[in-house]
């Protein structure tokens, strides 16, 4: 499992290198995700230890957001200036984003979802 944790960090590292060398506007880990994806395509499968270590990390993804989340407290002053416009805009636009993305994709998938339901393979 350690070897595959190193693989994850290695992908992230190469991602960070690529971002700096080519001046990409993306974070290193996102480029790292792409690299690991390419590795999996070449490897044509997910090795069991990689699956295990990924599962552990992804199961705790929420936890990893807590330190950054607490950071909101450092920006209360900035947020306070425009508290109401920001809060209302965030709530409404987030709901709009979720619903529009969901409905558009749902409409376009409709024929597919129906046939899946009929043949009983819907998970």
């Amino acid at each position: 499992m350690l070897n595959y944790f190193i693989l994850l960090l290695g992908c992230q590292f190469l991602g960070e290198v690529a971002v700096r060398v080519v001046h990409l506007p993306f974070p290193g880990p996102v480029v790292g995700m792409l690299l690991l994806f390419v590795y999996l395509l070449v490897n044509q499968g997910v090795p069991k230890p990689l699956e295990d270590v990924s599962q552990v990390l992804l199961k705790h993804l929420s936890l990893f957001f807590v330190p950054a989340g607490v950071g909101v407290m450092a920006h209360f002053e900035l947020l306070k200036n425009d508290a109401w416009p920001l809060i209302i805009a965030i709530v409404v636009s987030t709901a709009v984003g979720i619903v529009v993305a969901g409905l558009v994709m749902g409409v376009m998938l409709k024929p597919q979802l129906k046939s899946a339901e009929e043949s009983g393979v819907n998970e």
């Binding site: 960090l9 995700m33 330190p67 987030t94 998938l109």
Partner: protein
């Protein structure tokens, strides 16, 4: 004696072990509470942990920079965890390919309507230029959002706060919204959450099932990728 107690307290309250334990224990308890209350969205573990930890830090007089330096290990794991998203992505590849057109359509139109509604509402409600520019990248994963914010003249750290709030509020509202609009399919839920609520949305979808998590991770990645290119250009043309 009194003196030494207060010295012990002082050295412990600023010790990184204390902050690490605080974070892990509070998060573990938040997850327990979440599960005990039938996963009620308002009790989302990230939100509950954030609020409690903010309260404790304020109470014991620790500033955020000190706290963050202590818990950087936890924050650091976001990196490899993001890389690990390639695994569910790879395993769902067949289904992703089969619905690629629908994914892109939902992603584009969803992301676009979120940006437009956020900007116009902030403007109409009398928000300052700083707030308007900072809210633009609100749906994008925070490192990308901070970069975009900087490029278009927003305040990167304000954007980071807006991004986190967006994610948490989105997760809280998602259950009701999905029910209200009859959105049931895991893939569709995943794309909706990844598009509108970046990593925080992806984390919540991971708890639902692997399919939803994979589609969310995919949508988050593509949305970040496209936003990083399109938003600064669009802003330049419009402004």
């Amino acid at each position: 004696m009194q003196q030494s107690y207060s010295q012990i307290w002082l050295s412990l309250s600023t010790h990184s072990l204390t902050h690490l334990c605080l974070t892990l224990v509070v998060f573990a308890l938040s997850v327990k509470l979440f599960q005990a209350c039938k996963m009620r969205p308002i009790l989302n573990p990230v939100l509950v942990s954030m609020v409690i930890i903010m309260g404790v830090l304020t109470l014991i007089g620790i500033d955020y920079a000190t706290y963050f330096a202590s818990v950087q290990v936890i924050h650091f794991l976001l990196g490899p965890a993001t890389v690990a998203l390639a695994v569910p992505l790879y395993r769902q590849l067949r289904q992703i390919k089969a619905s690629a057109k629908a994914i892109f359509a939902g992603l584009f139109i969803g992301s676009f309507s979120a940006v437009v509604s956020a900007v116009s509402l902030t403007y109409l409600l009398g928000g300052s230029f700083d707030s308007i520019a900072s809210i633009v990248p609100k749906s994008v994963t925070s490192p990308i959002a901070m970069g975009i914010s900087e490029q278009i003249g927003g305040i990167p750290s304000l954007s980071a706060a807006i991004v986190i709030i967006t994610g948490v509020i989105g997760v809280i509202m998602s259950g009701v919204l999905f029910k209200l609009f009859g959105i049931k399919d895991s893939a569709v839920k995943g794309v909706a959450m990844g598009t509108a609520c970046h990593g925080v949305g992806t984390a919540s979808m991971m708890l639902e099932n692997e399919k939803a998590g994979a589609f969310a991770g995919l949508a988050m990645g593509i949305n970040g990728f496209i936003s990083a290119i399109v938003i600064p250009i669009a802003w330049l043309i419009l402004a």
